[in-house]
Symmetry: C2
Subunit: 134 residues, 2 copies
DNA sequence: CTTGACCTTCCCATCATGGGAACCCCATAT
DNA sequence: ATATGGGGTTCCCATGATGGGAAGGTCAAG
């Protein structure tokens, strides 16, 4: 006697937008849900659970293809934790690399900005750096 | 008696790909260069200088619209350094925010991964977290 | 029977960048 | 002289994850 769970309901309980739910279906990340007679999608608890999984993985920054892999491992009760851990470690490395790149940019700019008086005068080490340094 | 600087030459001396040089022209970030009779673009030293400026700004992560603004300030000898500094400070804040978000993801995953034995057993705190925690 | 709030599909935009097709131009090697 | 190769040109399409919006179907309540 479960009520019909529409895409909007699924969106609200999982935090994944209806737009993205349809998108994940279109790229085969989730399987196509059942439809009512009027072609409206409706979602099972299993579907909702998967969408929740996906959202949490996205919140951790996993790219879609990683999530595809993680979902397969999730469904597989006989998976090895080593395989999951390997994906996570690769992702951690990617995150750290990106963060380091952003911090390097920030550090350079902070240094330049700290030497820039920031008043009405045109003299500016930030512009100078873009002009001269390579 | 300066030799003709082709788009490839400009690309090699500035580190901006020919593809992107044409793109920057198409979006009006740089002005259209002179053309030879056969419609080949050729670049002045001024053009090369601007492309170098753009590449350095991109290396610091500035988005194109910021660079558009910075280029205008660069050309304006009577600019105020305050305006340049304001753009830089906003960008620093954006970089720091992104870096912090990535680091938070990384920290969470590192914690989960450190508790994952990573062997043949299926038991895995990483999967558990995606499964249960919100 | 209208209104409004859903649903459907399909196309377009973002941001910066690259790939590739189809075609033109020119210098050098055969 | 001509074939070959390596430039140039324009134009379209793709990326990754997401949102906006149009055009049209469906349904419940007023």
């Amino acid at each position: 006697m479960s009520e019909l769970v529409t895409i909007r309901d699924a969106s609200m309980t999982t935090g994944v937008s209806a737009k993205m739910i349809r998108h994940y279906e279109s790229i085969g990340l989730i399987s196509a849900p059942a439809r009512t007679e009027n072609r409206y999608r409706h979602y099972s608890q299993r579907d909702i659970h998967e969408l929740g999984f996906i959202r949490k993985a996205r919140d951790l920054g996993f790219p879609i293809e990683d999530i595809r892999h993680l979902l397969a491992l999730w469904r597989d009760r006989s998976r090895s934790s080593a395989e999951v851990k390997a994906i996570a470690l690769r992702h951690i490395a990617a995150l750290d690399e990106k963060a380091a790149a952003l911090q390097a940019m920030s550090a350079t700019l902070k240094h330049l900005a700290s030497n820039c008086h920031g008043d009405n005068r045109p003299d500016c080490p930030i512009i100078d750096a873009l002009d001269r340094l390579g």
